[in-house]
Amino acid sequence: MSLQDYRPMMERCSMCLNCRWIPFDKIKSQRYGQNCPSIGYYNFNTNTARGRFQMAQSMLDGRTTYTDDVIETIHSCTACGACDMACKVCRYNLEPLDHNLELKAHAVADGKTLPGQLPVIENLVKENTMLVGAKKANRMDWAEGLDMIDLFKETADVAFFAGCQYSYNKDLQKVARNAVKVLQKAGVKVGTLGGADNCCAGRALQMGFTKEYNDQSSANIKAFEKAGVKTIVTPCSDCYHAFKRQYPKSGSTVEVLHMVEYLDRLIADGKIKFTKSVPMSVTYHDPCHLGRLGESFTPWEGKEKKILNQVHTWEPRRPRYTGANGIYDAPRNILASIPGVELVEMERIREYSWCCGAGGGCSDTLPEFSSWTAGERLTEANATGADALVSACPWCKNNFANAVDENGNKMQVLDIIELVQMAL
């Protein structure tokens, strides 16, 4: 689609500004009622989904040009989808997140990028990873000594896809190693592409770099086919979303499971048994790309059809991604099954969870905004009184680990895999 294709949505947006808030029915306090990091930080209407519709329309109409503020506004969306689900509490025919991403792609196609984006994309093109400074040659360093099956030679139960953060980030590599060990201990045959895989490039898509995303995803899909991959397990929520929701648009038919889904199955089947108590109260952060953006892709081709004179519907019935069917229960089931762990929920959870701030490439390109967003979540997490904040995404963990809450306090941040490992 092009930006012009979104004109009906731009004009049909009701200006209700639901896109600023978590669903009203879920608001329990003033402090944690908002949902959009972008307007939360920048404060102008422009930064809402509504504002982006309006700005884009004025660009198409020739009234708005690319100023520095316009470019920053376009790229200051964390692609978290909170506006999208809030909109869909009310509307059945708007897609704010898709529009936000198309607006970014439109700007990138016009050469309107942020300085911080270019080194990330250059590294993606050159080294097949979006972590600046990381080298393709070191992609499998994290797995040194692990006895994983080479999928180009043998078959395995699952292909383990660590993703760039777990592969290159020295602080996180041990989490991926532990993940593989946990799976193997449960009797799972874990395979690897052995570095033949590239970055999933989901973040490139979130940043508007469509061509670069297409190049990487095509290469990955070919590698999956060549290695005969049937099922991918990944501990990274960004990779999960890319493989599950985006790759099928390019023909991928691989089954995609997040590590929490697989662990939940293994625990339910009695293949993982906890032997130690972890006396700790934790609060769980739903990663956007595992939660509200974690729904499966359903192919659709059709057109708009008006009924009852002016009610616009879709023919045939169009899939509706509301976030309601994201992955929320699996991580909570895991936490509930670990002896000693007590889960205390934050106010904004599940489909109306607050973003960690890393999405949309913002942790690389707009670090102050990204850090503020993470700090907001830490404030909410600390308010629960929990000992630790648990998540299921390395981007979230990394962003939280480098942030402080509104009182300047840090918080212990754990990947859920670390918690599982502690209890084995």
Binding site: K88, Q310, V311
Partner: protein, 556 residues
């Protein structure tokens, strides 16, 4: 004309660099497309003017200083909070837009049963904070996404709970007001330093200047803080919401019940509403789901309470015989919530509702008693959450007819009004065909019971130019019908006296030309004097309705 550099710099010095912008992209996002007509203006296929700058003040002092700069340089200004309605936007080219988003404090004074709030405290969060201490507020029909300060201080403000809690004007206590010339006054008890609990005194009232009945829509300075009266909430400390998006629902204790009361004819309907006006039974009373239209309401409720359903399911649902039966059962209906303060109180209210139904030949609709539907309706009505159900059908709507009057005056006209709307639905295609009658609104627009507050929801497509044009023609026809029946201004035309069709402010000459024809032109002439006293530079726009006094015809 762009703001001169020294003016922009002066404004930036007040609020800080991060809180002001004249960027074209930012300013463009502070324009209202008049085809989205919330609050009764339009629909027109154009935008409100582009502001010279957008300013986000963070305190009363900053507002005051911005207003003083505007007076010094004769720049028009308008403050908006949520920007839900066109009335929040500027109406001239040489104007700045104030976005009150940074002023969002809420202080709950449980002892005095009031909330002291700033402009960006929306009703949903005020309610959430009030419920923590067993209190609640009247959320007007605009819904919980609206600024409580804006609707309480600046607009009509009746809603589902008005029968129990009163409308906005009744709930306004003390206020802090930056006058159009930059002076700050506090009204009521706050004006005497005695707290915020009273609007009339000790201290100056100014209610008639500040607000009146329908409010001045932000055209007389900037209200920066108010106290709003809170009312008992006999429920939990937060609304317990569960269910799957968008079919959220609330499982509340047994002292809350939501019923859809149905009647065989308008006479029965009127009888029930009139008895309710005379008895203290309801926590909430609204004809709500008829907003989707007489033919569609049952099907829409099925869609909204089933997360798997979509609008494309409407045709199939409309053919469902059981649903048709339920729809017919609630052809003439309204929704009520009763809330028992004690067990005995609940028993009394249940009996009272049953007795009212006997006297009015009415019944409770069965479908609305299904557990999931009941809990969904209860949550929706109490929070007036996702109020923007207004927009579900087509994305754009406007309320028209607008029969806010005595029950016995309006209900006999309902079928005739519905037939007129149905004629337009059938003979033209500009508006959605929902069954003619799409009347909805408060069972009472004032506390205790009395005048009703009704409008017909008309849905159209803001992307379809023919639909916009045709809807406007339909509204012209309803105004003709209203005039013929002596019912005054059509709801869809309320703000067309305040902003020109091209979305700019009226000139005084233009206002004079039509207010001189009013039955009581002295009202507008009085307001002219008020404006001259409080707003000598005329910087608030033409939402404040005035008539030059020497234009008042002799003998009037």
């Amino acid at each position: 004309m762009a703001l001169a550099r020294e003016i922009y710099q002066a404004l930036e010095d007040i609020v800080g660099k991060k809180n002001i912008s004249e960027d074209i992209g930012v300013c463009e996002s502070y324009r209202s497309i008049a085809s989205q007509t919330s609050a009764h203006y339009g629909p027109f296929d154009h935008w409100t003017p582009l502001p010279q700058a957008v300013i986000l003040p963070g305190s009363t002092e900053e507002v005051q200083n911005v207003v003083r700069i505007c007076n010094k340089y004769k720049i028009q200004f308008k403050a908006g909070s949520t920007f839900y309605a066109t009335m929040a936007y500027i109406g001239s080219d040489y104007a700045v837009q104030l976005d009150m988003r940074r002023m969002s404090k809420i202080e709950i004074d449980a002892k005095n049963q009031c909330a002291i709030i700033e402009p960006y405290a929306i009703a949903a969060v005020v309610q959430a904070e009030a419920m923590k201490v067993g209190l609640n507020l009247n959320i007007p029909g605009v819904g919980c996404s609206s600024s409580t300060l804006a609707s309480t201080s600046g607009w009509a403000g009746f809603g589902p709970t008005s029968i129990f809690m009163g409308a906005s004007g009744e709930n306004l206590l003390s206020a802090e007001w930056v006058l159009p010339d930059g002076e700050v006054i506090k009204t009521g008890s706050a004006g005497a330093g005695a707290g915020w609990f009273c609007g009339e005194g000790p201290g100056p009232s100014f209610r008639s200047v500040f607000r009146g009945v329908t409010g001045v829509a932000g055209s007389m300075g900037v209200c920066t803080k108010i106290a709003v009266r809170l009312h008992p909430w006999p429920g939990p400390t937060f609304l317990p919401s569960d269910g799957v998006l968008p079919a959220y629902k609330a499982v509340l204790p047994d002292n809350f019940k939501c019923y859809t009361l149905c009647f065989p004819d308008w006479e029965g309907w009127t009888t029930a509403a009139a008895i309710i006006h005379e008895n203290d039974v309801l926590y909430l009373g609204h004809r709500q789901y008829n907003m989707f239209g007489r033919n569609l309401k049952g099907a829409m409720i099925r869609i909204l309470t089933d997360p798997e359903k979509q609008l494309c399911d409407l045709p199939e649902l409309l053919e469902d015989p059981e649903l048709q039966k339920q729809n017919e059962s609630m052809k003439l209906e309204f929704q009520v919530v009763i809330a028992g303060m004690t067990k005995k109180d609940m028993e009394y209210k249940e009996k009272a509702i049953d007795e009212i139904l006997k006297l009015s030949r009415g019944w409770k609709n069965e479908m609305m008693l299904e557990k999931d539907v009941h809990d969904w309706a209860l949550l929706y009505l109490l929070r007036l959450g996702h109020k923007n159900l207004n927009y579900v059908l087509c994305g754009a709507y406007e309320g028209n007819f607008g029969m806010s009057s005595n029950l016995y005056v309006t209900t006999p006209l309902m079928e005739e009004a519905s037939a007129l709307k149905r004629k337009w639905e059938v003979e033209a295609t500009a508006i959605a065909a929902t069954g003619g009658d799409s009347e909805m609104g408060s069972i009472s627009g004032i506390g205790g019971g009395g005048v009703t507050g009704w409008e017909y929801f008309t849905n159209f497509d803001a992307y379809d130019k023919d639909s916009i044009r045709g809807t406007k023609e339909f509204f012209d026809d309803t105004q003709r019908w209203m005039t013929e029946h002596g019912l005054g201004g059509d709801f869809s035309r309320w703000n067309t006296e305040c902003r020109r069709e091209d979305s700019y402010n009226y000139t005084q000459e233009e206002h004079d030309s039509f207010f001189v024809k009013m039955a009581q032109p002295h009202v507008m002439a009085y307001q002219w004097k008020v404006r001259e006293a409080f707003n000598p530079n005329h910087l608030g726009g033409s939402y404040y309705r005035t008539l030059t006094p020497d234009k008042v015809p002799e003998g009037k």
